[in-house]
């Protein structure tokens, strides 16, 4: 028998599988039962199958700054994460609502009247001072206002089990390929685990994304628009994913030099000659897209691409300038943007965030900095974050001085105790903290891909779920509504 540890009774965080009294939640009853019948050796054997599966297929990710060779096999924990059908429907509605509002916001900024700024929902100066605000995107319209065709929204569950939005990723969110590969590996390692559950499939992603990309093709594109994925190349951390998506969608994977612009039309160079390109799903940063309009030293982009976008002969996804809407300084305003554009109450709350340029919020935060989390808006990957309760008085005083010197550069958040779930650590299934990144696809309409990428911090007590910092992942099951049956592939 493998030991399946319950969460500690005094744990602050919500545990996905066990309630506060240590009883297994009904959602997890069957899977806990099944795992309780495996002994440690059996679990190790199956773990080996998963690892072998990823190794054989070359499913890796890149760790920058690692002298041991930058490629690692993708880490997947064998205990799955489950989401009940009713719970998922709520998340799905909340995500679709949020991304719809964010797309409206981007259209308002770049091709609209700037109504949200004029009406004081978001301060205009905050938008203008955002690093992600891209002046070259002005006047470039996108069919269906789908500025963000693919969004990855990071959700966490607080101590009460409430899902909250930690962060929006609206530029080049990655990870969808791992969702699909995790399911495949799970199926191989636990072929009978599906007997107890009806799980929403994930294999339709390629079709779903392709349909969305086809729907944003320029009007002159015809019935069969040519779609390409523009990758920076093999040295990029997510190259595996770029190649994977090209295969799943049946489209060309190209690099900048494979494309050429002639009289404001983008062409793909092929052995049969030049073929006009309608939609470019790009995985390179805005400032590298076109050396004419952006960084002149970019070797990854396509000269003249911005002119073609302005001429309306090609659609680039995600659109240029989306970084303004996923700026950490804009995040606190997103719930108000939902109310403003859609006239609806937000379904998914934000992690409670205070902005330091509002004197009232700043003073209130200064009263209790030792209970809060202090984040610089310009950093990512956890850099520069001060956790109030772990900080010394001196560190808090320094943080306070830095906030006063440049309030635009800081936000302060309530601590969220990320929920936990059993994960395989040294032959024992122990609770570890996790988050969830669902993917939201927008074409003619906005749809949410079932489940998403669950990331788990494999170190005890750690809240850092990033794979580049030792985080793992979990296959994530959205259970089908009862009474329906679907194949779990």
């Amino acid at each position: 028998m493998a030991e399946l540890q319950r969460s500690d009774a005094d744990q602050l965080a919500y545990d996905e599988a066990f309630d506060r009294d240590g009883n297994v939640r009904p959602l997890y009853a069957a899977i806990v039962e099944r795992f309780s019948n495996f002994d440690a050796a059996e679990l190790r054997r199956r773990e080996g199958i998963i690892e072998e599966e990823f190794r054989r297929q070359g499913i890796t990710f890149t760790v920058y700054g690692d002298s041991q060779g930058t490629e690692r096999t993708w880490p997947m924990d064998l205990f799955p994460r489950l989401i009940a059908a009713t719970e998922w429907q709520e998340i799905e509605r909340g995500l679709a609502q949020r991304v719809t509002a964010l797309n409206r916001f981007l259209a308002d900024i770049y091709t609209g009247e700037g109504a949200a700024m004029a009406d004081g929902v978001v301060p205009a100066w905050l938008v203008q001072s955002s690093d992600g605000f891209e002046r070259n995107a002005f006047g470039v319209s996108v069919p269906h206002d789908a500025h963000c065709v693919i969004a990855g929204i990071d959700l966490v569950r607080d101590a009460e089990g409430q899902y909250r939005v930690l962060e929006d990723n609206l530029r080049n969110p990655s990870g969808i390929s791992y969702v699909i590969e995790n399911r495949a590996a799970m199926t191989r390692a636990f072929p009978r685990v599906w007997e107890d559950h009806t799980v929403e499939p994930v294999s339709q992603y390629g079709r779903m994304l392709r349909t969305a990309l086809e729907s944003v093709a320029p009007t002159g594109a015809g019935d069969k628009p040519l779609i390409v994925i523009l990758t920076p190349g093999i040295y990029n951390s997510a190259y595996f994913e770029h190649a994977f998506l090209a295969r799943e969608m049946g489209v060309e994977l190209v690099e900048g030099p494979d494309l050429v612009v002639d009289e404001h039309v983008v062409y793909l160079r092929t052995i049969e000659g030049l073929v006009p390109v309608d939609v470019i799903y790009r995985r390179i940063d805005d400032t590298f897209l076109d050396p004419v309009s952006f960084r002149p030293d970019s070797t990854l982009g396509v000269p003249g691409l911005l002119g073609a976008m302005r001429a309306g002969t090609v659609t680039v996804c995600n659109a240029v300038g989306n970084g303004v809407a996923d700026d950490k300084a804009i995040h606190p305003y997103v719930t108000d943007l939902i109310r403003y554009y859609l006239g609806e109450e937000p379904i998914l709350p934000n992690v409670e965030t205070y902005v330091m340029w509002e004197p009232d919020q700043r003073e209130a935060a200064f009263e209790r900095l030792d209970e809060l989390v202090i984040k610089p808006v310009g950093e990512s990957g956890g850099y520069g974050i001060v956790i109030g309760r772990n900080a010394t008085d001196e560190e808090l005083a320094n943080a306070r001085a830095e906030i006063e010197a440049d309030p635009r550069n800081w936000v302060v958040q309530e601590v969220v105790e990320l929920s936990t779930l059993a994960s395989m650590c040294d032959d024992v299934l122990e609770p570890r903290h996790l988050d969830l990144r669902p993917f939201v696809i927008t074409g003619e309409r906005t749809q949410v891909f079932p489940g998403g990428l669950t990331r788990v911090a494999m170190r005890k007590g750690s809240l850092i779920v990033n794979s580049s910092q030792g985080g793992g992942s979990k296959d994530t099951w959205v259970l089908a509504p009862q009474g329906e049956t679907q194949a779990a592939t």
């Binding site: 190349g233 040295y235 009289e263 590298f288 002119g307 302005r310």
Partner: protein, 361 residues
């Protein structure tokens, strides 16, 4: 004043190149001060030109030449009617610069930008420039603009586009865009919003162009305020289109290029609005200044930016001819003609580094 402007840009390559792509910003702006009567841009060989307007309201002509070519001529012709500038702004107390609404409205023109970054040295020069100035924003703006030619001596070809403000002060020499950048930086660092203006200057025949190297004073060694050119820095008369500066380009083609026209500045005065001044030419901006557009710095409104594919050296002639059709023949200026060579310098990032640097969220 009615002015006819012909901007002629000639790319000549030592060997045939292909896939040249360019953005051109040379069309005068329509605003309350000036009205564009006509504008036409043609290329030889002919190609389809796409005209758009950018975030700052500047007209952009996008044009490219995919086929192999060793020669590309772009000619833009504009007729524009300018009106004399308004009277000087009314005095405004410096206290009003701190007004939160004023700061928020001008946030883009108060923050450092790509070519306008400042540190201690610029701070020092700026506070030296406004020492003894009254509590009046206009007077401070004037003081800064007049201090610039005492820090910098005008010298053609003395700088390239990547130069920092600190390097400029140290070097003590520059061209119109350097004068403008330094003035913008000094103003921003004392809390006065300032923007960079690109345009044309109709140089009347009584003015002379700075042609002689003898006029340029040696660089100020320590860049201390007041050293360097001294009062003589102001005596060059009007200075027109000038320098050509290569931008950093990748080792592999395409190469990057840029050409410039004249540059001056505008400062935001509380209760008045944008006030235009020409730091290169003694301060005042008149109906002989024709605005193309403005931005945070040069990078938002370069007359030409572009790349081409090929290893050839490029020679670029940029020529501006400005004429006043109603004036007597003797009033028509000589063409302001400049030439420069494009240098292709290697990029510091390798392609692999650039690939790795692409953020996957």
């Amino acid at each position: 004043m009615r002015l006819d402007i012909a901007y002629r840009l000639h790319f000549a390559y030592a060997e045939p190149v292909s896939e040249s792509q360019n953005e051109i910003r040379v069309r005068p702006r329509d605003d309350l001060r000036q009205q564009v009567l006509s504008y036409r841009l043609t290329t030889t060989p002919a190609t389809r030109v796409l005209q758009t307007r950018d975030y700052f309201g500047t007209t952009v002509d996008h044009l490219g030449m995919r086929a192999s070519h060793d020669d590309l001529l772009v000619v833009a012709e504009a007729s524009v009617e300018t009106t004399p500038t308004d009277s000087a702004p009314a005095p405004a107390s410096c206290e009003r610069l701190g007004d939160q609404q004023f700061v928020n409205e001008h946030v883009e023109y108060l923050a450092p930008s790509q070519h306008v970054q400042w540190g201690e040295l610029v701070n020092e020069v700026a506070s030296w420039a406004v020492r003894g100035a009254a509590d009046d924003v206009c007077e401070r703006v004037q003081a800064v603009v007049q201090a610039v030619p005492t820090v910098l001596t005008y010298e053609r070809g003395s700088t390239t586009i990547g130069v920092t403000l600190e390097e400029l002060i140290d070097g003590g020499r520059g061209v119109c865009q350097d004068f403008a950048h330094l003035a913008v930086g000094m103003l921003r660092c004392i809390g006065i919003p300032a923007r960079y203006v690109s345009g044309y200057l109709f140089a009347l025949d009584e003015t002379r162009l700075d042609e002689g190297p003898g006029e340029s004073a040696p660089a100020a060694g320590d860049g201390a305020p007041g050293s360097g050119a001294g009062a003589d820095g102001n005596s060059h008369g009007l200075v027109g289109e000038d320098v050509f500066t290569p931008e950093r380009a990748p080792a592999a083609s395409p190469a990057a290029i840029s050409v410039q026209t004249h540059a001056w500045i505008e400062a935001a005065v509380p209760g008045y609005g944008w006030h235009a001044l020409d730091p290169t030419n003694g301060g005042s901006v008149s109906e002989r200044h024709v605005v193309i557009g403005y931005g945070r710095d040069y990078n938002d409104v370069p007359p030409v930016r572009g790349v081409f594919n090929g290893s050839a050296d490029a020679k670029v002639d940029a020529e501006v001819i400005i004429a006043q059709p109603t004036a007597p023949v003797s009033m028509v200026t000589e063409p302001i003609r400049r030439q420069a060579r494009v240098a292709v310098s290697p990029s510091t990032d390798t392609s692999a580094q650039q690939q790795a640097a692409q953020q996957q969220q």
